[in-house]
Symmetry: C2
Subunit: 325 residues, 2 copies
């Protein structure tokens, strides 16, 4: 067999230079396909080696309009960082839908970090006030960085309030926001200061089944949008009850997490899936006082929407390693 | 990150020289783990690009006793052979259960061909008469070859009856049986001659929802064992009704295929899972007149049992390509 596949390491993937604005655009297109029922995305099963919350999940998807099929096989090991290994690792296999042959195997860490933030931004496009200029980031790790980057693409951001229990993380995000994005970043040690007064709030800490519930009633301003990247971990029951529109990226998956895994116990009923907002089947923000929320779970569709862009850029730039099948 | 993974092409995997006897032994150990409830193997979801019966399935498994976790992402495209591309293609990702990091990406075609036959042989070990010396192979493609190889490891085979609707396929199997395995192979054009008079029968044609039902009542001898690699495709309802023990490799998956996909409609109730035969929880063959059947579906556990052997041999022999994560 003379067929080949292209292997792309984490560095190769990043070196493609794929920009956040293109990722947001592509992820939004993917949600439009989903909203129109044109994406095949079965449930994501996984295995759980070892003790605790370790997981490795298989995330398959097929998007006909993007000629993309494949799977992301992604692990999350909470104990890894203590060993000097990232929490999230994994590979994405991108297949030719016409033959089923693998076209590429690529690292999925960079893609996961970027597309998760892009989905936040797509939610914000429909749920945040367009003039939003003040953003609070609570927990300033990888998702804190990429969510700030993504929101900065779509909104005229000026001021950032950065909160983290680890001072170095907040410092890093502040340096990134100031030097790379040219924003005014203020590090705050009171989490309320990264919520109240903000047009957009991103919570991006560890995902917990029992929320630490740092954010209380009335902290979120009227008219604000919140992207709960870490599910409901940051929110008290009373704060959640103030949500006027509580949305998610995929209702089936949300209900699975709620009914079988034990997340989202205190959350309001889901108003809309993101695909419904993108297609216009349901309205996004309808006035300047609604408190709107997105609790996106991360979908295989997003990965498989981004994979062809990475593949094409890598070929153009002669990145990666060609391997025989 | 200085971590690396080892990529193994189809040729690299075959060049490891892993032998069928070791694969059978390993697959049996895997079924012992399964029978003792020590394997994590969620349902296998997939996508279905294009028209017809195309599929790409994700098959994850974790076997603690073998320190193996991973996923097989395998496609089956019925239209591929007409394009000069194999029906089955795909990759297996083998992970370190301790960190979740990928250790290896390897072609899965060879492994799939071998482990499927090995599972047939493990079923035969518990369900066929130990002195079985005459075997019928109906449909002489890849699985015809590997099933003959696997049965020849465990049984004192002498005579093979080879049936195929494509003469060249039967000729190829005959040449393999004679030249490589030293067996007496007779090509037959009447399918009954590859069933009646045989101690072991392997049906390994295309898998069909509506069985072609070539094999009729009384064709299968008393005391014979049948491995239905192609599910029940070869069997009429009346022939199936003569099964004294109808077994499968995994009841959950079997019931899913039966209740939701439409296979096995006319089949008898399942007597045992293969893991129950291996652990002794249920008895295999109990006398010389039972007609016993295995309809194994193919499990991710089998792939993940074999993967570490391939990985270790490949490292020993300096096969494959090391790649940065």
């Amino acid at each position: 067999m003379t067929e080949q596949l292209l292997y792309l390491s984490q560095k190769d993937v990043a070196d493609t230079g794929l920009t956040m604005d293109r990722i947001i655009e592509t992820v939004e297109k993917g949600f439009n396909e989903m909203g129109n029922g044109r994406v095949e995305m079965p449930p994501k099963p996984g295995v759980h080696p070892g003790e605790g919350d370790n997981f490795i999940h298989a995330m398959p998807a097929y998007i006909p309009a993007m000629n993309s099929a494949g799977v992301k096989w992604v692990s999350g090991y909470p104990g890894n960082p203590a060993k000097g290994i990232p929490y999230i690792n994994g590979l994405l296999i991108y297949n030719d839908p016409a033959t089923g042959l693998p076209l590429s195997v690529m690292d999925c860490s960079w893609i996961t970090a970027m597309r998760t933030a892009a989905a936040s931004a797509v939610s914000a496009k429909y749920l945040a006030r367009p003039e939003s200029s003040t953003i609070g980031i609570l927990a300033c790790g990888v998702q804190g960085h990429t969510n700030l980057e993504a929101m900065n693409v779509l909104f005229p951001l000026k001021k950032v309030f950065a909160f983290d229990t680890i001072a170095e993380q907040a410092e890093e995000l502040a340096a990134y926001g100031r030097n790379t994005l040219g924003l005014d970043v203020e590090i705050v040690t009171d989490p309320r200061k990264a919520v109240t007064g903000c047009d957009i709030v991103v919570t991006s800490g560890p995902i917990l089944k029992v929320p630490h519930a740092t954010i209380k009633k009335d902290w979120v301003d009227e008219g604000a949008f919140v992207s709960c990247v870490d599910f409901d971990s940051f929110f008290s029951r009373n704060a959640l009850a103030q949500a006027d529109k509580w949305t998610t990226d995929n209702l089936d998956q949300y209900n699975h997490y709620k009914d079988h895994v034990g997340f989202f116990i205190d959350c309001p009923p889901v108003y809309a899936e993101l695909g419904e907002l993108v297609t216009g089947a349901k309205k996004g923000r309808e006035n300047d006082t609604e408190r709107t929320f997105a609790a996106n779970l991360g979908l295989a569709m997003e990965d498989m929407a981004v994979a062809p862009l990475i593949f094409d850029l890598a070929k153009d730039k002669n990145l990666g390693t060609w391997l025989p099948l």
